[in-house]
Amino acid sequence: MNTDIKNDVARDTTAAPAINMIGTRAMLFEAPGDFTMAHQRRVWALMDAAQARPDVLELIPGVTNLMLIFSAPPERPQAVAEWLCHAWNTLPERHIEGHLFEIGVRYGGALGEDLEAVCAHSGLSAQDVISIHHGSEYTVCAIGSAPGFGYLHGLDPRIATPRKTVPSLNMQAGTVIIGGMQAGISALTGPNGWNSIGFTDLRLFDPHKQPPALFAVGDRIRFYPESIEL
C-alpha cells in the first residue's frame, strides 16, 4: 500500500465519527481512526468551536473524543450532530503552543516499585526503560479522571505496559506512571492501576491557584532523571 492511499484514509470523511446522546443533556463525539496527535489536534479544534456555542455548558475533551454537556436538552440533537460532523470535516488541526515542562524524576525505589514489571514486560533493563522514558517528549492530550491529571501522548511503544490487574491501594500523588500506551503523573494519593516507575514532587492541582491545574491541553513534558535507585 503506498503512502498516498494511507493519507487519504487518514482524512477519509466517510469514516464517520460516532455521535451519541448520553442521557438528555450530554452528547459524545468520537473521532474515527487511530489515536494520533493529528486526530487529537482536530478534537482540540472541535473543542474550540464547540466552546463558542451558546447551548454548551461544559466540554470534556477525552482521548480522540469530546463530550458536550448542554445547559438544557437540545431541541434537535440531530442538528447538533450534523454541526459537529461538519466542523470535524472542515476544521484544520489546532496546534497549541503549550508550555514546556522539564520535570525531574527520582526513578525506581519504593515510589517506583513497578519498574521491574515494566522491565519484565518489555524485556529491557531498568536503565533502558528509564532512558527510553525520559528520551521522549510528551504532549498533554486531555485532563481528567482526577483533578489536574494529564493523559500524556508520546510514550515509546517499547515500554508500553498494561495496567495492573491488582491496583496499588495507596499510590502517592506525584508518582510517574505508565498505563498501556499512556503515560502520566498521578495527581492524587489513592488507588491506582497504572505502573509506577518513579516520583516527582510536582503538585498538579491547587484549587486556590488560577488556573488550578498545572497542565493544560497541548502542554509538552520532558522528563529527566534526578536520581535512579535500582
Partner: protein, 336 residues
C-alpha cells in the same frame, strides 16, 4: 454556628455542585438528591444552590449554637429537636442550644439538613460542595466529624410549621411499585448498547439489579447475571456524567453518580435520565433497580413534572407565608 455532636462516615457539606471544571478533571460533586436540596432551599426562602449537610450515615446529632430555621428533607426518619419529634420536609425553628437528632431513615437513604441562609463554608471553584477526591470544598475537603463547627447566617424565619409533599408522593414513578424494594428508573441506551449481545440487551431491562455494598457517591455497583459484549472492546478515555451505566469486564454494571470521575473507559450501555437520578440517590444498598428504556423525547419530557412540582412549591410557600403573616397581623411584604 452549629456544632456536630455525633456523626459517622461520609456526611458532607454539599450544594448543587461544581459544574464548569470537568475539563480540568474536577467532577461536579453536589447533592446526590438535588431535588431534596432544592425543596429544602425553597421552603426556607434560600438561594436555590445554598449549601446543606448531606447525610448518608446515621444517627447524626448537631447543636444549634444560635437560633436557626431549618428543614430536613430527602428521608423519612425519626427526627428530634431536644427530644420533641419534628417532621421531615417541614420548616422548624430551633433556639440557641437546642440539639437536633436524626435517626436512621424509615424511607430513603440520604437526608438533607437545610438551614435558612445556608451553610457557610468558603466557595472553592464556584461551589461549596465537598470534593472528596480532590480534598477541597465543603469543610476542608473532608467528611464531617464530631466536634466540627459550621458557620450559619443566623437567619430565622418569622413563620414556620409548614412543609412540602415529598417528591416520592408527588411524582409518579415510571412503573407501579408492586414491591417497595424495587426502584423503577428510566434510561436511554448509550453509545455501546449495540455492542452487547441481544440476550444482554434484553437482560439489562428485565433484571432487577441489586445495589451492592460497593456503592457510594461515586457510583453504585449492581449485581445480577453479567452482561456480555459481542466481542471485547478497548475504549479510549471519554467523558462521564452522573447516570451513565457502564459495564466493566466482569459484566455487572456500575451507575456513575455525583462524585464520578470526569472520564472513564468501560463500555457504556445506558444512561439513567436526569429526572430519575433523585430516586437512585434515595435507593439503599440491598434494594433492587429496574431500568425502563425510554426515548430522548420521553427523557426530556420527564423533567416537566419535576419542574412543575418545584414551581408549585414556590407558589405555595409564598402564599402560605403571606397568609400566615396576615393572620398574625404582620405587615405583608416583609422579608420572606
Amino acid at each position: 454556628m452549629i456544632t456536630i455532636l455525633e456523626t459517622s462516615a461520609l456526611n458532607t457539606v454539599q450544594d448543587l455542585g461544581r459544574p464548569g471544571y470537568r475539563n480540568l478533571g474536577v467532577g461536579t460533586s453536589g447533592a446526590m438528591d438535588a431535588l431534596a436540596l432544592q425543596v429544602g432551599n425553597i421552603l426556607l426562602g434560600n438561594q436555590i444552590d445554598d449549601a446543606c449537610i448531606e447525610l448518608q450515615t446515621y444517627p447524626f446529632v448537631l447543636r444549634f449554637d444560635a437560633p436557626a430555621t431549618f428543614a430536613v428533607t430527602g428521608i423519612d426518619a425519626l427526627i428530634e429537636l431536644d427530644g420533641r419529634t419534628v417532621l421531615p420536609w417541614m420548616v422548624e425553628t430551633a433556639a440557641a442550644g437546642q440539639v437536633l437528632r436524626i435517626g436512621p431513615p424509615k424511607a430513603g437513604a440520604r437526608g438533607y439538613i437545610c438551614l435558612a441562609g445556608g451553610i457557610e463554608v468558603p466557595v472553592v471553584l464556584g461551589s461549596r460542595s465537598t470534593q472528596l477526591r480532590g480534598s477541597f470544598g465543603g469543610l476542608d475537603g473532608r467528611p464531617l466529624e464530631a466536634g466540627d463547627t459550621l458557620g450559619t447566617t443566623g437567619t430565622t424565619l418569622d413563620i414556620a410549621g409548614y412543609g412540602a409533599l415529598p417528591p416520592a408522593s408527588a411524582l409518579d414513578a415510571v412503573a407501579e411499585a408492586q414491591d417497595s424494594k424495587v426502584i423503577h428508573l428510566r434510561a436511554l441506551p448509550a453509545t455501546d448498547y449495540a455492542l452487547f449481545t441481544p440476550e444482554a440487551q434484553k437482560r439489562l431491562w428485565e433484571t432487577a439489579w441489586r445495589i451492592t455494598p460497593q456503592s457510594n457517591r461515586v457510583g453504585y455497583r449492581l449485581s445480577g447475571t453479567p452482561l456480555e459484549l459481542r466481542h471485547r472492546v478497548e475504549l479510549r478515555s471519554y467523558g462521564v456524567i452522573a447516570g451513565l451505566v457502564q459495564v466493566p469486564p466482569a459484566g455487572e454494571p456500575i451507575v456513575q453518580l455525583a462524585d464520578a470521575n470526569t472520564v472513564g473507559g468501560y463500555p457504556r450501555i445506558a444512561t439513567v435520565i436526569e429526572a430519575d437520578l433523585w430516586r437512585l440517590a434515595q435507593a439503599r444498598i440491598g434494594m433492587r433497580i429496574r431500568l425502563h428504556e425510554c426515548s430522548f423525547a420521553e427523557g426530556v419530557a420527564a423533567m416537566q413534572p419535576v419542574n412543575a412540582y418545584l414551581d408549585d412549591l414556590r407558589t405555595l410557600v409564598a402564599r402560605y407565608r403571606s397568609s400566615a403573616r396576615c393572620r398574625a397581623g404582620m405587615k405583608s411584604g416583609a422579608k420572606a
